[in-house]
């Protein structure tokens, strides 16, 4: 029995139902705990005041915006190599979720930037590359919507996803070249001595876990919807032929 058997649509529908439900509840729990802890039970930062608390939304959303694209890339590769339909549908399902995560990251960043940097928006490399990522999501979703034949659409979007990933990374480093940053560096790397202080760090981890679970739940839900829509279309086609 190999792992690929779980990609069979019927089996997929079977095991995802409980997983999705569990992921939703756990996400709700994590987000409730993390956000309440973060918002009300952590001290204000000594320079940033209470505005620092927006990291409990900003950082997890930004993380998931990038991870959603990586997940789409992985799903596209699986579709191209092994042609599992569920994989293509999962890539399609993840795109709008990633798009919303990108928007959340951009908006919360703007709200934080206004009191801190004195501006909602600056053409900073990180901000700009997120805006470009947003455009990539838009193009990807638009291509899915434009093509009628589902297999052709899956093929074309997966090629676009792969080429787009290369160009997204290229843009990420190209914008560094073009403007020096205003955004602070990474504060959550595993290999560095200096990280965010533990009081902020633990609720932040809980929030990140909540966002990951929420992402999994949403993608599973949307994939299940896509599978049902595809079944419906097959039934309709059969009814027309009969």
């Amino acid at each position: 029995m190999s792992i690929w058997e779980y990609a069979n649509p019927t089996k997929f529908m079977g095991w995802t139902a409980p997983v999705m439900r569990a992921a939703f509840w756990l996400a709700a729990l994590c987000l409730a705990v993390g956000l309440i802890w973060g918002f009300f039970f952590t001290p204000d930062d000594f320079r940033q005041g209470s505005t620092v608390k927006i990291i409990y939304l900003h950082v997890p959303a930004a993380l998931m915006a990038i991870n959603a694209w990586i997940m789409m890339l992985a799903a596209s590769l699986i579709w191209v190599v092994r042609r599992h339909h569920v994989s293509a549908l999962a890539a399609r399902a993840a795109a709008p979720v990633g798009l919303v995560m990108t928007l959340i990251a951009l908006f919360t960043g703007g709200i934080w930037g206004q009191p801190m940097w004195g501006t909602y928006w600056a053409w900073d490399p990180r901000l700009t590359s997120f805006l470009i990522l947003f455009l990539f999501y838009l193009g990807y979703i638009a291509l899915w919507e434009a093509i009628e034949d589902p297999d052709t659409a899956a093929d074309l979007t997966s090629v676009l996803c792969m080429v787009g990933s290369v160009f997204a990374i290229l843009s990420r480093y190209a914008v560094n070249f073009w403007n020096q940053g205003l955004h602070q560096g990474a504060s959550l790397s595993l290999d560095k001595e200096e990280n965010v202080a533990d009081v902020f760090w633990i609720p932040l981890l809980v929030c990140i876990a909540g966002f990951v679970l929420l992402f999994i739940a949403l993608v599973l839900m949307r994939t299940r919807t896509e599978i049902r829509a595809r079944r419906m279309r097959a039934l309709q086609a059969r009814a027309q032929r009969a």
Binding site: L135, G139, D155, L160, V175
Partner: protein
């Protein structure tokens, strides 16, 4: 391959529109900018590198949907697919033909328009060089986008939504090279990266384009 290139060039020149249109569009965009931002020479010469690059990018975009659409409609794309020439070669030739009919004229016309925007005199050389190095990448990326949308009836808008984000790195390095040239800084780094992007796209994107064409012709 050479026969295909000559056929495409002849079609582009004789079929009306395509060849001169991109150039005229480039001219009009550049002429419109001073109406939009005001005629101060200082401001114009500061934004000239960016304007020239963005305008040439849009002009290249304008003629992209013609790369495959006509061949797809009259069936010659299918003939090309069954010919002994590999699809990768077709993609490469199509991009080259597009560059010769839009990128090259744009590069040659750009210094004249730079004059209109009172570009700094030191920057002309770098404007020419950066466009010469960068516009082939625009054509190649555009050919990939055109291949993606070839089967769609109204692919034009979608094509620009797909292709423009891919143009970002080329635009950044191209405009940066000209700006550094205008400010008297050393633009070699930007130019080399620009050349790198062009070389990379020409090495890799023909494969993606060919794969996409095969899917669309299935």
């Amino acid at each position: 391959m050479i026969a295909l290139l000559r056929r495409d060039l002849r079609l582009a020149v004789r079929a009306g529109g395509g060849f001169g249109l991109g150039l005229a569009f480039f001219l009009i965009v550049v002429v419109l900018v001073p109406f939009g931002v005001g005629p101060e020479t200082e401001l114009l010469s500061r934004i000239a590198p960016g304007i020239l690059w963005v305008a040439s990018l849009l002009a290249a975009l304008l003629s992209l949907d013609r790369i495959f659409a006509l061949d797809f409609e009259d069936g010659s794309l299918v003939l090309l697919a069954t010919s002994p020439l590999p699809m990768e070669g077709v993609a490469l030739i199509k991009a080259t033909a597009h560059w010769i009919t839009t990128g090259l004229p744009l590069t040659i016309a750009a210094p004249v328009l730079g004059f209109l925007l009172s570009l700094a005199p030191e920057a002309y050389l770098y404007l020419l060089l950066s466009l010469l190095l960068g516009t082939p990448a625009l054509s190649m990326i555009g050919t990939f986008g055109a291949a993606l949308t070839v089967g769609l009836r109204r692919g034009g808008l979608l094509l620009s939504l797909l292709v423009l984000p891919l143009y970002v790195p080329t635009l950044i390095f191209g405009a940066e090279a000209v700006r550094r040239g205008a400010d008297g800084l050393d633009p070699t780094g930007a130019l080399m990266l620009l050349g790198g992007i062009t070389a990379g796209t020409f090495a890799l994107l023909p494969f993606a384009t060919a794969a996409v064409l095969r899917i669309n012709l299935r």
